[in-house]
Amino acid sequence: MKKWISLALCLSLCLGLFAGCGASSSSAGADSSTPAASGSGIAAEPVKGEGTLNLYTWEGMFPQDVLDGFTAETGYEVSYSSFDTDETMLAKLEAANGGDYDLIIADDYIIETAIAEGLVAELDKTKLENLGNVNPLYQGQFYDPEDAYTVPYGAGVMTLVYDPSLTDVEITSYADLWNEGLADNIAVVDNYRVINGMALKVLGESYNVTDTDTIRAAGDKLLELAPNIRLIKNDNVQDDLLSGEVAAAVMYTSQVTLACLSNPDLKVVYPAEGVGFGIMAQFIPSEAPNADAAYAFIDYILRPEIAKQCFEWLGYYCTNAAADDLIEEEYQSFLTLPDGFDSDMEMIENITPEAEEMHMQVWTEFKAACE
């Protein structure tokens, strides 16, 4: 009997450990994807490329139709490998000295680091006929000011979403989240730069202030928000909004897309204080084994009709201006920016370690205060 028990205990301990590993939350970038609207046939061209495109990005970034269409047209096989966090990607790229992969899609801030480390090849723009389709709003940003290395593929835009049937508060700005009428009724993503940034915006500051006193002040402001916070998490926040667990949510764009597709009555708000956004961009590593395949792929998905398919599948904001009008009506309100959109837009950038540390401290205090 004793053996039995020890065996049972060992087994359960081990399982517990594995569960712990599995629980770590997924990346901030691509957390989910939406079902695809199936694509139309693509005219085949005679020029065929050789070999394989080694594509490295999050899981589920492209509908299979698009990948198959690319192979059928260009002859390059697509070998798709995925990472869960940007950090994993950078670590692997470092280990490969900028080789192994032909095309990588990752978040803005990590690309800044990768470029600084010399792991990214400068783009030969003559090979990208469709480059003009990119929405200029998403170009020239901090991680690649001259657009020399990257082409954007999808943007996350920080919107507020709320269910008007669950609250009487009309939300038009971040400041409205502080309203007492929303007590214990808000969900926010587990991302301290985004949420602390929200408080900074309410105080009229930039996301990227490095002055620790200002960050501290934002933290104090955030403590006043604590009674309204019902939950903080990264995965499937939309479920809590849809089930009525919360009335309002600050969540990632792909989650907004899923929520709005399930419940069209939800309201998407571009906060009056200004809109934060992040960009996923494609780049070719410095030692890419098959850079030609990468160019062919970038150019292929820059075509408006292909981009439309991709973004409707991906559920992130469309970075291809030429595709904006092609996007189906039901997706328009959360995949493209409204006409005449002129809010202040600002990206979250890498900041000094001291500022990071203050952010983290303020964030930990905030989380504990929400209990």
Binding site: M1, K2, W4, I5, S6, A8, L9, L11, S12, L13, L15, G16, F18, A19, G20, G22, A23, S24, S25, T85, E87, L90, E112, T113, D184, A187, D190, N191, Y192, I229, R230, L231, I232, K233, D240, S243, G244, E245, N350, T352, P353, E356, E357, H359, M360, Q361, W363, T364, E365, K367, A368, C370, E371
Partner: protein, 283 residues
């Protein structure tokens, strides 16, 4: 002589494995905790004590206190539920013991994360529990049960209860029940016989159960994240945040080192107080 040599050869893979996968990471973490974080990414090999100093900020000390509080609450509840369970299980017939053991093990065939999601379905607004309560007319609106402290405690107790049950059970099972009869014959009341004989003799089992539940509950932050909506900040979640989000590897390492030292100290204290050199089944 020859036999000793072959014994060594047999054991060598074990030593190599232990050095590589246990001692190696520990040393790495220890060294890392004294290094400086780089501007944006990685670490610089520069000695500093700042990471340890940083822990003494009230907000971080608070997470240690919070972890202790949760671990203590859960362990206390687990003792209250698990001890009687193990005790009465040991008194069953052999056949029923086996059946009950099987029932205890079956949940482990499913990933614990998935079982936790089960609790979400029970607790969430308009979820199973809400429907039952409203159906019975006990409540008239959905209760906010999910993402609360009690929900986290329920999750902890659920995840760790069987360790206590099995430890107490094995202890009770080995016990010589005629000693209890003797106590009763000599005039002890059932309560007194339990306290002076049964409890004392099963103490090693109870204590190993406490260690088996207390120590993991210091680290099971994913339960607090999932059922508590990330609002209960434990050392485990702080380490994860520092490592995965703030990219402050040295500080995360320092937190981990301190957490390990604390748990080691607790086990040592335990041994001291209880004078038990052998904790049943564990050490």
């Amino acid at each position: 002589m020859k036999q000793r040599k072959s014994l060594w050869l047999l054991l060598a893979p074990m030593y190599v494995f232990t050095l590589l996968f246990v001692a190696g990471p520990l040393i790495y973490m220890f060294v890392l905790s004294f290094e400086t974080r780089a501007e944006t990414w990685g670490v610089i090999h520069e000695f500093t004590l700042d990471n340890y100093k940083n822990i003494f900020q009230p907000v971080y000390l608070q997470t240690f206190a919070e972890s202790f509080r949760l671990a203590l609450t859960s362990t206390a509840l687990i003792v209250l539920i698990g001890y009687p369970f193990g005790y009465f299980m040991a008194k069953l017939s052999e056949a029923w013991k086996k059946r009950l053991m099987l029932l205890l093990m079956i949940p482990f065939w499913t990933n614990s994360l998935i079982r936790l999601y089960g609790w979400i379905i029970i607790f969430r607004a308009n979820g199973t529990l809400d429907k039952i309560l409203m159906g019975l007319g006990l409540t008239d609106a959905p209760l906010k049960l999910l993402y609360t402290y009690p929900a986290v405690v329920v999750g902890m107790v659920y995840a760790l209860l069987q360790f206590m049950i099995l430890a107490v059970f094995s202890s009770c099972e080995k016990m010589d029940w005629s000693l209890v009869d003797a106590a009763r014959d000599l005039g002890a009341s059932p309560a007194k016989a339990f306290l002076t004989v049964t409890l004392k003799l099963t103490m090693p089992g109870l204590l190993s159960g406490v260690i088996l539940t207390f120590i993991p509950s210091m680290g099971l932050f994913f339960i607090a994240d999932i059922l508590g909506g990330n609002k209960v900040v434990l050392v485990g979640s702080l380490i994860q945040d520092q490592l995965m989000k703030a990219h402050n590897q040295p500080f995360a390492a320092a937190l981990a080192v301190v957490l390990m030292l604390l748990t080691t100290a607790m086990i040592a204290l335990y041994k001291r107080v209880t004078h038990s050199d052998e904790l049943e089944g564990v050490l």
